[in-house]
């Protein structure tokens, strides 16, 4: 084979790879887009809270890129702004985000065949919408490269919207009257994500038991309640699947 034809094959293969990469990234962005619209008011509300807090605006804004977790960000702004001790702040945020470890466990099999750089980058984006999109049935069976760029398309689009909206909230302040409670769109998005996951008996059991445990353990700190409810739901689902012949 001549050098020219080898170069032709190489350039063709590179073009196919680039095309596949863009195709996967676009699919990830498309899967995330409906949630971007719903989560936008929540991100704006976090930015407004950061701007209104006695905390330095830069610190309030930096909760977005550093923590990248809505409820933890609101808690951080509230606690740091009211002068709560450093150890209490760090432990409270860890408790609020403890459930993310279990999300990491759910994603671990999908990330196992990925390159090392991606296995270190992907966990930074682990948060409810990204995990919901990344565990979608449509993301399976297309190969490791496709999955990698699908994940990045979904995660980076959420990250960009999140940080941009927080910046707007800090700089501009309340754009919409807070009495409209537009941040309620965030739990509505979570309901849409949850409903899409309730495909079988196992997932329905997980959801119902987690909800029941959350109500029963409401007296505990919110982060602990969430983690306990999540573990309870997951254990119940595993148990019911085992007992099913």
């Amino acid at each position: 084979m001549t050098t020219t034809s080898i170069e032709h094959i190489r350039s063709g293969s590179a073009a196919e790879t680039t095309s596949e990469t863009w195709c996967a990234a676009r699919a990830g962005v498309r899967a995330m887009t409906p949630f971007l619209v719903g989560l936008l008011p929540f991100a704006l509300a976090i930015g407004v809270a950061a701007g209104a807090s006695p905390l330095d605006d830069l610190v309030g804004w930096a909760t977005g890129p550093i923590l990248f977790s809505g409820s933890a960000q609101l808690s951080a702004i509230e606690m740091l702004g009211s002068g709560v001790g450093a150890v209490t702040v760090v432990l409270s945020l860890l408790l609020l985000n403890a459930r993310l470890a279990l999300y990491g466990a759910a994603l671990a099999p999908k990330l196992a065949c990925q390159p090392r750089w991606f296995r270190w980058l992907a966990p930074y984006f682990i948060v409810d919408p990204v995990v919901a999109v990344a565990t979608d049935e449509s993301a399976e069976g297309c190969g490791a490269r496709w999955y990698r760029w699908y994940y990045l398309g979904a995660a980076v689009s959420l990250w960009l919207m999140w940080v941009t909206a927080i910046t707007a909230g800090v700089l501009v302040g309340p754009i919409v009257d807070a009495s409209w409670s537009l941040d309620f769109a965030a739990p509505l998005c979570l309901v849409a994500m949850l409903t899409a996951k309730l495909r079988d008996r196992r997932s329905r059991t997980a959801g119902v038991v987690a909800g029941a445990v959350a109500i029963a353990a409401v007296a505990m700190p919110p982060g602990a309640t969430t983690a306990l409810a999540m573990v309870g739901g997951a254990i119940a689902a595993a148990a019911i699947e085992r007992s099913t012949p």
Binding site: V89, L93, A101, L102, F184, P187
Partner: protein, 101 residues
């Protein structure tokens, strides 16, 4: 300690929480009961976040919010269209507020 340093420490530990299972479990064979448990983590986590957010809400409109979430759940199950779920959920909440619920 400055607020930014506290935030950076919290961010580093949050990243550790997010990545610990990915790094620990990656490529290893996990006992079957744990695999089943991890597979159910996503619906359990979403349900837990929704319910905890509802029951810890500071306000006297918990019933209105619970109803709006239930209506949104029905719309989501029937249509699978997120913008419609959000629109109908918000409209339900505002209607219930207007009715004094």
């Amino acid at each position: 300690m400055s607020s930014m340093i506290v935030l950076v420490v919290a961010g580093a530990l949050t990243f550790a929480v997010r990545s610990v299972m990915v790094q620990t479990l990656g490529g290893r064979s996990v006992p079957q009961p744990l695999t089943r448990m991890f597979a159910a983590a996503v619906p359990a986590g979403l349900a837990a976040v929704i319910i905890v957010g509802l029951v810890t809400h500071r306000g006297d409109d918990v019933a209105a919010r619970a109803t709006a979430l239930a209506v949104a759940g029905v719309v989501a199950a029937r249509t699978k269209r997120v913008p419609l779920v959000v629109a109908i959920g918000m409209a339900t909440l505002w209607t219930l507020w207007a009715l004094g619920v």
